[in-house]
Subunit: 247 residues, 2 copies
């Protein structure tokens, strides 16, 4: 597994893997401080990174791989409440415990900072707190957008919404951008998709088949998706918004 250079991670928006908590505008001595408290952790697919309620001694960014945030009721019903893709930030400066399980769904590498020193640094470096505020506002927007999906959309619209989010998120990373046709690999099992969408895995499977039959998507194997026409997909999602920041 190749680890990106510290330098690349210290950059922000203009870097393919944006370590968005910190920023190219940092002074050299700030970057130096970050270097000193930085380390890498990797997890295998299926491993739980943090259990709900546990203390979380670090904050960090996803370097590669996928993780999910999930909540579980006593009787086992689960709802995914967040999807962490590369460059996404994890952690809650100023908070003790984690409010939900964080689970690696693929092998994953994270770039972490020990929490205490990071918090001290945040207190001393105003623009880091402001940057985190902006990122948290983004997450809040995504969560609220998702509330509309969960509360008001049909199963077919839910699937189309999820595909559209993953496709767009993928496009923002890939070198050729948002070209039709879009091609990507689903990072989630049918069950994980169901947990994200408040559906059962059978319904997910049926709706995927229906979208395929209707030519909205093509499927090679179970995970490799081709979207011949993104506009069509977004219509199916009931999405008029021209691509708000979703996940």
């Amino acid at each position: 597994m190749q680890i990106p250079t510290p330098h690349a991670l210290a950059k922000c928006d203009d870097c393919p893997i944006r370590h968005r908590a910190v920023c190219a505008r940092c002074e050299p001595n700030e970057l130096q401080s970050l270097e000193e408290i930085k380390y890498y952790r990797s997890f295998e697919a299926g491993q739980t990174i943090i259990w709900s309620g546990d203390k979380m001694g670090f904050v960090g960014s996803v370097v590669s791989g996928i993780a999910t945030l999930t909540q579980t009721m006593e009787d086992g019903r689960t709802q995914m409440v967040g999807l962490l893709l590369p460059s996404d930030f994890v952690g809650r400066p100023g908070r003790e415990g984690a409010p939900y399980d964080v689970v690696a769904t693929t092998d994953i590498v994270m770039c972490c900072f020990r929490k205490k020193p990071f918090e001290q640094m945040m207190a001393a470096t105003p623009h880091i707190a402001q940057r985190l505020l902006q990122m948290t506002l983004d997450e809040l927007d995504a969560a609220r957008e998702w509330m509309l999906v969960l509360g008001r959309k049909t199963a077919r619209e839910k699937i189309a919404s999820l595909l559209s989010i993953i496709a767009r998120r993928d496009a923002s990373v890939s070198p050729n951008g948002a070209q039709s046709p879009m091609v990507f690999d689903l990072p989630l099992t049918r069950e994980a998709m169901a947990d994200y969408l408040g559906l059962t895995l059978e319904t997910v499977s049926r709706q995927m088949s229906a979208l395929k039959k209707d030519g909205v998507i093509r499927l090679e194997g179970k995970r490799h998706v081709t979207v011949p026409d993104m506009c069509r997909l977004m219509e199916e999602a009931g999405d008029d918004s021209d691509g708000g920041f979703l996940v």
Copy 2:
């Protein structure tokens, strides 16, 4: 309408109406700067405070009354994504437009700061950005808790969850705290409850009747609710969490 004194609003956690964006720890000159950019606005029940997409030139706190954040699809389906009760913060420092409609559901008074000067002040006063970050994390937790409600709970559980949230929120304000039996007035119509819960108003009405028949709640009129046993209500809500910060 009696307006609270500026002094009360400038306090934070220990104040009954916590103007949580600022804080008792502010220096006198910071408070003075806040005074200079502060003003009050009131709206009538039903009035839209901000339309989705419009520029929002202020940030502020709810002083009295209730407002909702709602998202709407082209075909008219709507989902409430936030409920603003007294002391809640509205606004997105560093952002231009509003991502959803903000609607007054009762007559409402807000204490506002013009956005530009507030942002400047935030840049100059690190602890304000940190305080806003904490508040935004709270909102994010609430939104994610709500995703579980929307995605996985039954209609009956949804209603019980909403009642439990409002009751607890009410208790944290009222002088006698969370005593059983709890008594409060629903600040929402059946339709607004439905929009919050991803249900129809008929289903809300039916489930309210069912909870009443089963003795979980008592109703005088349509809005005045008595909860003889909060534990019972929280069981109905499927809530094991001992009262996380929800709305």
